[in-house]
Symmetry: C2
Subunit: 450 residues, 2 copies
Amino acid sequence: MQFELTSELVDSLREAIDHKDSSFVKEQLKDLYAPDIASIINQLDLQEAAFIYELLDEDTAPNVLLELEDDTREDLLATFSSKRIADQINNMDSDDAADVISELPEDIQEEVLSHIDDIDQASDIAELITYGEGTAGSLMAKELVSVYSFESVTQCIEEIRKQAEDVDVLYAVYVLDSGDRLIGMLSLKKLIISNPMARVEEIYEPDIHLVKTSASTEEVAEYMQKYDLVVLPVVDEEGKLLGRITIDDVMDVIKESTDENIQRMSGISDDVDSNDRLWPLSKARIPWLLVGLCGGIVGSRIIGSYEDQIRIHPEMAYFIPLIGAMGGNVGVQCSAIVVQGLANNTLLGDNIGPKLIKELGVGLINGLICSGLIWAYAFLIEDWQLAATVSAALLTVILCASFLGTFVPMTMNRFKINPALATGPFVTTLNDVIGITIYFLMGRFLYSFF
Amino acid sequence: MQFELTSELVDSLREAIDHKDSSFVKEQLKDLYAPDIASIINQLDLQEAAFIYELLDEDTAPNVLLELEDDTREDLLATFSSKRIADQINNMDSDDAADVISELPEDIQEEVLSHIDDIDQASDIAELITYGEGTAGSLMAKELVSVYSFESVTQCIEEIRKQAEDVDVLYAVYVLDSGDRLIGMLSLKKLIISNPMARVEEIYEPDIHLVKTSASTEEVAEYMQKYDLVVLPVVDEEGKLLGRITIDDVMDVIKESTDENIQRMSGISDDVDSNDRLWPLSKARIPWLLVGLCGGIVGSRIIGSYEDQIRIHPEMAYFIPLIGAMGGNVGVQCSAIVVQGLANNTLLGDNIGPKLIKELGVGLINGLICSGLIWAYAFLIEDWQLAATVSAALLTVILCASFLGTFVPMTMNRFKINPALATGPFVTTLNDVIGITIYFLMGRFLYSFF
């Protein structure tokens, strides 16, 4: 039953589009949901995408539009007139409509708004696009049902009948005092099972979660996740109810921020995806490659300063990659655990000391295992000075990497910098350079000593 | 308003517990929600945790229990009698109760079940723990409201009154045919605004999403996320309604699987968190460190076979870390993009060719930039042969890493192996070894040629 996107399906649709075979395309799409159709369109070029979009019925088309990747949607909308864009967003939820409009160039935003038939919808959208990106205000929708605390259950149901037409998804109604301030909520279940004569003030739930428009989307996401909320009301500074945020919008936020963290950890700086073109993909990766390049050059200078030693003991060079790689691996392991602990609130950000001690403990155990193994190997294959140098350097490098891999992200977190930034190439490069330095210092010391 | 966990708060509670100061502890916790109290208890040792748990009122305690980290909960429950565990889970939702029970040793599970007063609850739990871990069955709760299609809206509301007592969160009722098979649903909103005389069959929504008990939790998560569902009914092979999965449970699944992927990418093999003890933390990291160690040893053999060359041209050794690090970085960047594209369904898994060509294109651009820069550097500081060797090797290594970083995860995905496994130490180690080989091969060739 689950739809699966295959290149076979995409290819067959491409061919049909090539031959302007509308009926084949319609037949293929007719049983699919909007997100599935969108995932197909994301794979196509603009002309093909426009061809398919033309064939969608007017209920499906706006939903597909919403599910498209940002780039694809932007390209597609650029081919539409302002009137046509307005038609597409006329029946969308206000938050979705605001999202679509805010992606448009500013001069077109005005034009599109002027073409929206429903005046309430137009003014809701106009309000929503004023909230800054990344705030609760930018996530909320205006569609909700509210009642006054002095109303009766019967009046309340009447109110829902009137207000609920535009509200697709409704789990609860919000309860306001006479000053329009949010004071609680009433679940539909409670409403259904209550005495029709009861007053709202006798049955509503006053202890509810809410946020202000200025809260960050990350706060909203953390909040809804932590307290298992499917909808969260948004109020202004005076406590007046302005809108509500639903869990599906928050899940998108969570997904984006996870994706971004994984990209940061992997040394990719802009938000790119695999359908982007060559240059954006390259550009997003160059900064951390240049950091790596600088690290490599610093490494080369360090090794260069030990040239004499390498001439006498070229076997010192053999283990350079090992030292670098192990430092990098340990650093990434530590910082990943730290970043995750901070994100999940299982690790207290202001508690660096105990965490450092623990990670150094782990580093000591793993360092002893690894350096023991490498000592045995180098002793058997090479000589005992080299074995001593490599194993002592490896242990030191692992301890150093444990320290940096813990200290750097925790410190970044304290200064409100995203610690995921530290988990990738940065820690790796730093550990590479420090590892090489330790290795050659130890080598010089041990070889000169014995 | 948002609760923040600080080490100051934890320390003050610890001190109060030390002095058996119950009233201070109660005062600190009284305005907190269950997840916040749980996050505090997670930071404490077992005796302290037990002290706090004793002080919680009987409504709060089970909710706190559910929000605890698995290890903490397990330790705490191990100090409870079977009767006391039964008391704690008696009023939980059936899915939560089943989760708690299934973590207990098998002999205790039976005992606990026998102590549960509510017979329906006991049999629901007994059913739920039979579903395999990682299946939709293990995620679902038995609490739901169902009606027959031939009932009227009034009968339906009566049914909700009767059934809904145990159902905390209710957005919709499920509609069954006379054979108890699920045929659709009816939102509470629709129910409220419909004519009380209408029959369910005239107003219900027949086109609904559902899953079978055997579906995997990942499928459920993908499904609910894609189609923006807050609740998903679960049926057996005959289509009979067995339970429902709510979005909060799925969000936990998504979080766990993201956490796991990040750990895989960082070279951590078991599911650990920063509160675990030393040995589990060490053990989870050792496997990939050993892979790195083996890679390093292979690298040392390769370099060793060029010993003569290093004696004559020790400057060859300078750039070993650079070559290794850049190969690793590029490989991780590529594979992260691929893994993300596969996870988000923006990249077609059966379409390796075009993706490879694109990534090689990106690799060529970034490779030319990086090797151009390193050529200029080495030419100015060292000599032109070394400059030629390093820059040509770097370009080749970056192209190779682009190839492997794309090919390896895509191939793993085809063989249904989690591609995130390939994104970390594996690709890095492979690229390290290949990079060094290319570097010295090129060096030998260029130095012997000129």
